[in-house]
Symmetry: C2
Subunit: 414 residues, 2 copies
Amino acid sequence: MLTGTNLEYTKSYNVRIVLETIRLYGPLSRVEIARRTYLTAQTVTNITRSLMQSGMIVEAERLQEGRGAPSILLKINPEGAYSIGLDLDKDHLTGVLVDLLGTPRQQIDMELKFPSSDEAMDILENTAKELITREGVELEKIWGVGIGLPGPFSVSDGAVLKDVVTPIGLPGWSNVPVREILSKRLSLPVFLENNANAAAIGELWYGAGRHIGTFFYVYFGAGLGGGVIINGQPYFGYTGNAGELGYYPASEPFDQEQNSQKPHLGQFFRLPSLYKKLQAEGYEVSNLVELEKLYEQKNDFLMGWIEKGATHLAPLVLAIEYLVDPQAIFFGGRLPDPIINDLLEKLKTILPTLRIKEKTSYPDLLNAAAGAEAAALGVATIPVYESMAPLPGLLMKTSKNSYRSLVRPVISEM
Amino acid sequence: MLTGTNLEYTKSYNVRIVLETIRLYGPLSRVEIARRTYLTAQTVTNITRSLMQSGMIVEAERLQEGRGAPSILLKINPEGAYSIGLDLDKDHLTGVLVDLLGTPRQQIDMELKFPSSDEAMDILENTAKELITREGVELEKIWGVGIGLPGPFSVSDGAVLKDVVTPIGLPGWSNVPVREILSKRLSLPVFLENNANAAAIGELWYGAGRHIGTFFYVYFGAGLGGGVIINGQPYFGYTGNAGELGYYPASEPFDQEQNSQKPHLGQFFRLPSLYKKLQAEGYEVSNLVELEKLYEQKNDFLMGWIEKGATHLAPLVLAIEYLVDPQAIFFGGRLPDPIINDLLEKLKTILPTLRIKEKTSYPDLLNAAAGAEAAALGVATIPVYESMAPLPGLLMKTSKNSYRSLVRPVISEM
DNA sequence: TTGATTAATTCAAATATTTTGATTAATTTA
DNA sequence: TAAATTAATCAAAATATTTGAATTAATCAA
C-alpha cells in the first residue's frame, strides 16, 4: 500500500484544500485563497466554479478596500449539505441533524437502559428518520449518518474499519453489523465511531481544534473515554483503541457492584455509579440537570468526588503530557460544564506538584466547546469530514479513502 | 499552511515511492513495481531511468520464470550514497558511517565525561572527518550528518526544528547552534535529533519497523528516553518531546546524589548510577562488557535490579498501550542484549497482572534490532530518510520539506 | 469629469507528468 | 518453428496546473 499519485488525485485534494480554507478562514476572495494555498488564482477560479455549481459554496458580498476591482468573497453554503449524528450509550441516545457549518437544526434526546442490539437498531433507525422528517430535507442532501458507540471495542480480526462491533460497554452485543443494517434501512452512508473519538473529531472540525492540530480529548460518557488528534488527523492506534484510558488500572476499587473487575478509572466516572453514591448519601440525583443543581449548592460530597476525580486523573494526564505531548487536552462530554471546569482547576493545582520541572510549556487543559451533545455532534461531523477534509490518503492510489485510512498504512508483504 | 499540490510535487513523490518500494521489497522488476505502486509501467520506466542515471539503483540479474520476456530486477546501489551518524551522550560518543543500505562501514567509539559544548563541537567535527578519511569516500556522496543528543530539550521558542539546543542532560549547554556550527565546519547538511527518536527512526528505516507502521521505542541511554513512530512517520509532539518518559515521576527516589530532583524513572536506568550501586556491593563494573559478564554470572543484585526495573516500567508500558496503542514496543539502546531480553520477559509476566482483561491483542514487546549503536545508526539514517522517504509533506507546497514537517501542520491564522 | 493606476478575475495557450495504445524484445510452449 | 506470453519502451493523448494576456471594476489625481 505504498502507492503513487497522479493529476487526478492532485485535483480532488486541491478541491478539498480550497474548501477547507474557506471553511476555516472564510469568507475569502479567490485571490486570497490562492495566496494562502499557494495555488494560482486561475486554479482557484476553476475549483471554486465547480464548488459553486455543486452548491457547496456561495458568493457573499463584495469587499471594497483600496484601489482595484473589489474582491468577491466566497463562503460555505450551510444548506449545501446536511449530516446526522446518533450517539448511543448505555443509558441514553442523542440524535442531531446538522448543516454544513455544523449548526444543529434538529435534536432528539432519549433515556435508555442497556438496549439490546435489536432494540438499538430500531431506535437508531427511527430517530434518524424522525430527524429528517422534522427538518424536511431531501435525502440526497444528507451526506450520511454517524453513529457513536461507547468504546473500547473488542476487535476480533484486527480490522481497522469497524463495520461489525462488539462494544464492551453494551452487554449482549456481539459482532453486530451496525453499518450494514442501518445503511440498508436508511439508504444512507453510515459511519461507526466510538463516542470519545467522535467528540474529538467534532472538536477538531468545528471547535477549538480548528486551530489546534495536536490534542487529546478526555471524554466523560457513561464511563471514561479518550480520543487522539495528531497533526490535524484523528489517530486510532493499531487496534483502534488509542486513547482509551477508561480501563487504566487504579489503585483502589471505586464501585462495589463491579468488584468482579479489577479497579480502573472508568468506574470512578461512571455516572450511574455517582448517582447511586449520591443517593446513598440522601441526595435525590438521577440526571445531569439535578447534578448541576447540586453542584451549584456546593454540595460537600460532590466537591469531594470532584477532588478525588482530579487526583486519580492527574497521573494519566501526566502520562498524556509525556507520551503524546499534545498542544492541549480537552475535557468534555456528559458532565455539567461547571463540574468539568472545577475538575480542570483542581487538576491544574495537582499537576505542578507531580511534574519534574524542566519544560517551558505544558499542554493547555481546556473545557471542550460542545457540551453534553459533544459526541452526537462529533459523529455528525464524520460524514462531512469524510467528504470535505483534505485527507492525505486522498493523494495516494488506494481504493479506500476513508478518514480512517492511514497516511502511510502498515506495510504488508504482497 | 494548508497548501495545494501540483504535478511537480507529484513527480518527486512518485520517485520516492518507487525508491522505497525497491528498498523494502527489492530486488524487483519494473512491472512488479508498477503493480505494487499502482503506477503504470511506463511511469516506472521513466522514474527508474533517472534513478539509475543518478546511481541510486542498479540493474541486477534477469529473472526467468514462466513465459514471456524475463524481467530485469532493480535494486538499491549501496554505494549510491553514504551518511554519517554521531551519537553524543553524557558519557560517550559513537560515530558511524553507513552506506545507502544502512550497513555500517566505519565506526568510532569514545568515552566522555559531560563534555562542554565547545569540546563537543570539536570532537564531533573530528570524528566525522576521521570517518570520511577512513572510508575514503568523496564528500559529494555523503548526504549528511545526523547528530544524536540526549533529550529532552528545553525549547525556548517552541520551534519544532531544533537547530539550537539546550539538552537538559548536558549541563552547561545553553542555546548551542549545533546545526549551524557543524554544517559550516563540515560543509555537509546536519540534522539534530534526540537519541531516542533517532533510534526509533533507525528501527523504522532499517529494522523491524520496516514492516511495523506504528510503534513506540523505549531507549536506554545515559538515562531513559522514548521515541514514537505513527503510521510510518516519526511523531514528535507539540513541543518536540513526545515519548520522553525518562522524567515520568516515580513513587520512590532511586538516586542518592540527585535527591534534589523529585524521583523519576530516568534515575533508575542511569548507567553510572547502576555502576555505582554495583560497586557499592563490591562488584567492579564500569562498562557494558563487564555488566554483561556480571549478568552471565546471574548476579543476584543485578537480577534484582532488572526485576525492580520491570516493575517500575510496567505502569508506563501500560500507559503506552492504552494511550498510544502501538503495534509493538521496542526496547533498545545501551544495555546489553541479554539484560534487555530479561527485562522484557519480566515485563511480560507483570503486565497481564495489571491489565483489565478486555482486548484480544496487545502490543508486542520486542528487543530492538540494532544494539548499543542503535542511536548512532538511527541518526545516520536521518539524512537518508530525509532524501529518500516518501514524506507526505512533499506533496504540499510548503517550502520546508523536512522529515520533521507535519502531514498537516498546525493551522495558523495568517 | 476623465484618464491613469491598481487589483481581482478570467480567457487562452503553454507546460509537465501520467496514461493509453502500439511496438519491440525475449522466453516458453505446443 | 510458430504461437503465446510477458517485460519494457516508444509515441501520442489526456489532464490538471501554470503562465501570460485580457477584461472588469474600483480608486486616485489632474
